[in-house]
Symmetry: C3
Subunit: 265 residues, 3 copies
């Protein structure tokens, strides 16, 4: 049987040891587990950004994976620490919207539990680091085979995340940038499905002062340093600059309006 | 038997491949070992910062772990490369104070050895990268079962690290910031034990121009963007800003004075 | 038999989840493989820098390793995705020069194949993320035991990388900075072999306005904060500042001229 796999996604960075400590706790409980870092340089306390990363990643992990995500501005407050079961995977994290888009992309939750029956390392729970004291032990226990209903009391549902919806109309779609990646690519909330209605007609894309960008199939179809629009690896419309940084060049950021319009008669 | 675990802590960053090379050397000697990164984005040559990270992490790792730490401004000088045995774990690194606080938190050293009998990869020792040529092979050999006394000649003791002590007095404690984490949290040298003497009396905390911060139990007990004082996950007094960056907002850094005073009669 | 080892080198950073997704794909195909990050904070689209990192690292990995490298400004263009076999290791990545120096340092290629017979995860190939859809599955298949000739059609050769050559003359060597590391160390294209001709004569090193730096054996042989020249862990001449940042202090960067001259009669 292959080793169990736990992914880790946090905003803890890699300068302080917080992620390493979580791994120590996990390996004390489940010594043969495979640990995979999804991302730890998420902007501090950026729940929506981390939720999109998690959603983009989980379909690519093998069945039975446990996804541990901690971006948790409300640590120590009344927000619940939860475990979620789906067809393919378990999720562990704070109930603040972080997990919801990824749970949905895997077909929705079979069960949600409040984590309240898991022993903490060294026998104490801090009020500032539930990643170490609550979430890591819970994820490790699930990977070690604990049934999720032993994790704690069932909850009716999990907190959803408010993401802006694109608006489709007869001659196009109005959307906005929802994520900016390391390369400065501007990822929008407009999906390939949103654009399918216009598949038979040429479209152009506008953002800020830049109009009439063509949709390309590959970055290399645009001229060097030219802006372009493309369906990216998340299945979403992305505004990029070939071998350049669109966020800097086009002064785009989350919330920047992006308009797709059909061209011609 | 679970796989042996080696943690890695360096100031090598993740842009140059230095950490990856150390892992290649380790896995050539101990192919089934579990490798866990503690932190690699430590400030360049910041021995005290790395020593505090190491101390905060080692209690959370399973017995038998090997902790490999390389922040080594004196590489190639007369500072000794050492291995240290404690009850729970081995340590490998330069003898410059980096290991001492973590060794102490695990109960002190049973033995200290100068690493001088370990074969280097490719048969040569550079004078600039002992992480690759000395420390990684030594850590891998210990994880593979080599007795530490085979590593080299015994040493009488290890280099201690000078950390500033807080000063307790009748009506409070004077301390200072000793670490700033990714979130801008200002971690002080004042411990929960230092504050226990005042447990029955309310205290307030001052830093820079900000006075009368209350101690809270959780970040969420403070108002949004307000400064607060809290016992953090290291068991130390921390000045933070709820969903904000205390280092920026309060212009605090290492060495900044922090004063705890009892309130009222 | 020890687990197979795959190294990963990208310019994807650690903020977006792209590296984690590649690992998910790999572990779905080869669940027991050891994954080692070489570097992911390479400058965006910096093929020469990444090629030098890869070359510096591969001699330190055990035989049978698979080296997966993706710095790929031409993703989606006609550049081929390739697999390369050498005596000691396999390589997988884009055919843009990235792999060539590392292949050469391991003794050259026994075979080069265009990756065109590997199933993509979720059955589709994006035009923006071949790391996930082409390279990760190919590397995992090789680690799982697939013969490289099953990967795709053989190619005659692989793309070479143009690196500047140093110029040796009677009284010295003229070279230039080819890499700047995290510490600001300025690594040149002048090798220990280039300097062997002058081994019996003292030499001095000049860069920018700084002349007559002595060659030292270890950083600690220079005075604190003084510039120095040294043969580094890559076997190349490096200009550094003891416990300082040479790139900042000497305003050096890639392309900066470095001159080694014999001293005296």
């Amino acid at each position: 049987m292959p080793p169990k796999l736990i992914t880790l996604l946090t905003d803890f960075g890699l300068c302080d040891g917080y992620v390493g400590i979580m791994k120590g706790v996990i390996l004390g409980i489940a010594p043969t587990v495979q640990l995979v870092d999804l991302a730890h340089e998420v902007r501090a306390q950026d729940v929506p950004g981390a939720a999109l990363i998690l959603r983009s990643a989980v379909p690519y992990f093998p069945p039975g994976s446990v996804h541990l995500a901690v971006v948790d501005p409300g640590v120590g407050s009344s927000r619940a620490p939860i475990a979620v079961a789906t067809d393919r995977a378990y999720f562990v994290g704070p109930d603040n919207g972080l997990l919801a888009p990824a749970v949905a992309v895997l077909g929705g939750a079979h069960g949600v539990w409040r984590i309240d029956s898991v022993a903490s390392p060294l026998g104490a729970v801090s009020q500032t680091f539930h990643g170490r004291d609550v979430f890591a032990p819970a994820a490790a226990q699930l990977a070690a085979g604990l049934a999720p209903e032993k994790i704690g009391a069932p909850l009716g549902s999990l907190q959803q995340l408010a993401l802006p919806d694109p608006r489709r109309h007869t001659n196009g779609v109005d959307g906005e940038v929802i994520y900016v990646d390391r390369f400065g690519n501007l990822i929008t909330n407009i999906s390939a499905a949103d654009l399918a209605a216009f598949a038979s007609r040429p479209v152009s894309v506008s953002i800020g002062g830049v109009h009439d960008m063509a949709m390309v199939r590959a970055y290399s179809d645009a001229a060097l340093h030219d802006p372009l629009a493309i369906i990216n690896s998340w299945g979403l419309l992305e505004v990029a600059v070939r071998e350049g940084n669109a966020a800097q060049l086009l002064k785009g950021d989350r919330g920047t309006s992006v308009i797709v319009s059909t061209v011609g008669p």
